[in-house]
């Protein structure tokens, strides 16, 4: 078969070699050369809800994959999950195990939070400390609590004003001025982006239709947050109080007489009032609940705080993707 040309065997050999090199390379890159399933030991855990957990779902400690789920079976109305742990990874017997969610796809995995016990789990043992993740309902309850605290804070704010501590007021006004100025700028600067964000939010909402429906019908506690008239009224009251203080200042009468001498302070205050008026006008004109939220500056302060609390509250379940998205959207809007 030597005719100066390459023999079929040679050409086929090259092609097969290329195939094997690619296969080998891809296997290496994927980095799961099947070694996980061979060595190591097995542990078990009973879960109330193994929804989303599947054979081969990963088991992580501190975000590092240490094993894979081998099987998920129903045992006595609980899910018996059997998983492998890599050789060399020791798990203290008081470790906590939790079902977590990862990524946009909402993949579930098991996370082991190592305990402090000296005794290590050995093959075939059951882990008993299960951290149950909060469900959606629980998250919304937390949001409700946050909204209540929001209202309390505004009342506290009013209390401060009643004390009439001049220095405090001056400082407050200063702060309010800077803050409102900034907010105005922010709103001005971001008008377009707010619009587009709202548009985007609309798109996203389509995907999250159920939640949106709930929010619109004021069913969930998040809906309450948005629709709560009291909240809005509180904010309006606050504005009114501020207004009366500023008008006192303007007239230069009463106990605030001293302050009048200070021109710059006066001017500052005037500007502040003007700003506040602008904003309150905006709020009054503001249509729809989102519009109100978007234009109401003082509400912003508290909403931001509430959001922070909300995010903090949701921290333990920070992987709950839809909420994260919602948070992102609200964060962008304010």
């Amino acid at each position: 078969m030597k005719q100066g040309r390459l023999s079929p065997e040679f050409k086929v050999g090259i092609l097969v070699l290329i195939g094997f090199i690619i296969l080998f390379y891809m296997s290496i890159r994927i980095g799961k050369f099947g070694v996980l399933s061979d060595k190591g030991y097995d542990l078990m855990v009973y879960l109330d809800n193994a929804n989303g957990l599947d054979t081969k779902s990963p088991v992580l400690i501190a975000g590092v994959e240490v094993g894979r789920i081998r099987s998920v079976k129903l045992d006595n109305f609980k899910a018996l999950v059997r998983f492998s742990v890599k050789e060399g990874v020791q798990i203290p017997s008081d470790s906590i195990i939790a079902v977590r969610t990862q990524g946009v796809l909402g993949d579930k995995y098991l996370e082991i939070l190592p305990g402090k016990e000296k005794k290590m789990l050995s093959s075939g043992e059951k882990m008993s400390n299960v951290l149950t993740s909060p469900s959606f309902d629980e998250i919304f309850t937390q949001v409700g609590t946050a909204a209540k605290k929001f209202g309390d804070t505004i009342e506290e704010f009013q209390g401060i004003l009643g004390e009439k501590e001049k220095a405090g007021i001056k400082k407050s006004i200063d702060n309010i001025q800077t803050i409102t100025g900034e907010f105005k700028d922010i709103i001005k600067d971001n008008k377009n982006s707010i619009n587009s964000v709202i548009a985007n939010a609309d798109d996203t909402m389509k995907g999250l239709k159920k939640i949106v429906t709930d929010v619109e019908s004021g069913k969930g506690s998040l809906g309450m947050l948005i629709k709560d008239e009291k909240l809005y009224n509180d904010a309006k009251d606050t504005m009114a109080s501020l207004k009366s203080i500023s008008s006192d200042i303007e007239q230069g009468k009463g106990s605030l007489g001293k302050l009048v001498k200070d021109d710059s302070l006066y001017n500052d205050a005037k500007d502040t009032v003007k700003n506040l008026k602008d904003i309150t006008d905006g709020v009054k004109k503001g249509e729809g609940t989102l519009g109100k939220l978007a234009k109401d500056d003082s509400l912003y302060v508290e909403t931001e705080k509430a959001m922070k609390k909300l995010q903090k509250g949701a921290d333990g379940i920070s992987e709950m993707t839809p909420i994260t998205i919602l948070g992102t959207i609200f964060g962008l809007m304010f």
């Binding site: 079929p8 086929v12 092609l15 296997s27 994927i30 050369f33 798109d203």
Partner: protein, 257 residues
């Protein structure tokens, strides 16, 4: 009228059953002779060259462009909710699990399967197959088995090449053209891609290789009616192979994944 209709339907059913039976028998005898000595290695290598090496070019081109268009299309979708990083995953999973094996098999059907049917058909109508029998040589062993064995081994090889160039094509479009974060692209891909995805794809490809070669050999081997018959056999073999591959793809996928 009604009698005619029933006649036609029953005729079609009988025809389909006979074809299926013939293809099945061809498969068994082809495999049977693969395990009988002496194995005609030089024939197998010749067919491997024809089916594998000579199809490599067209497989590489289709694979690359499929990966590229996959990246383009999935980018459009994923961008809507900010998950561009998943483009790599989509390309890799689609290529290894589905498009690699299926497109490769369809391309080989078009290129090599049709040629097999035409070649065997010509051998039939010009009595070359009879000549083999008269020489006391089994035509299945000399003509069918090498083609089936070669397809069985070459399709997975072509498929892994197709998978790879498809992913590279997706990477080119996704990372180089659309500017997806390369780290996210590669990491998400390697994270969600399993070895089983690749292996099962290759198993599928091997099955498709058997299907396309057995169908082509059957159609060619039993060609009737001269040059015109050869043309008919070739067309039928491509149609039957392609349809069978897609049906088998569904069945195998539902069994495997």
């Amino acid at each position: 009228m009604l009698v005619n209709l029933i006649k036609r339907i029953s005729g079609t059913v009988v025809y389909i059953l006979r074809e299926l039976g013939g293809i099945g028998l061809m498969f068994f005898s082809g495999v049977y002779w693969a395990f009988r000595r002496p194995l005609k290695l030089n024939y197998i290598f010749k067919q491997m060259e024809f089916i594998g090496v000579k199809s490599a070019g067209v497989v590489i081109i289709t694979g690359t462009f499929t990966g590229m268009v996959l990246a383009l299309q999935s980018y459009y979708g994923f961008r809507k909710f900010g998950a561009e990083g998943l483009v790599g995953t989509t390309v890799a999973l689609s290529m290894t699990r589905e498009l690699g094996p299926v497109l490769t098999s369809l391309m080989v059907t078009g290129r090599a399967g049709s040629a097999m049917a035409a070649e065997l058909g010509t051998m039939r109508v010009t009595e070359q197959i009879d000549a083999l029998i008269v020489m006391a040589l089994n035509p299945i062993k000399y003509l069918v088995t090498p083609r089936v064995v070669a397809s069985f081994f070459m399709l997975p090889v072509l498929t892994i090449v197709s998978d790879f160039v498809g992913i590279v094509g997706g990477w080119l479009v996704g990372v180089k053209l659309l500017g997806i974060n390369e780290g996210a692209f590669i990491n998400k891909m390697t994270k969600y891609l399993e070895l089983d995805d690749i292996y099962n794809g290759l198993v599928k490809a091997a099955c498709f290789g058997i299907i396309l070669s057995v169908v082509a050999c059957y159609k060619g081997f039993y060609t009737k009616g001269g040059a015109e018959g050869v043309g008919r056999s070739t067309t039928e073999s491509v149609v039957i192979s392609s349809v069978s591959i897609l049906i088998a793809d569904y069945v195998l996928t539902s069994l495997m994944f």
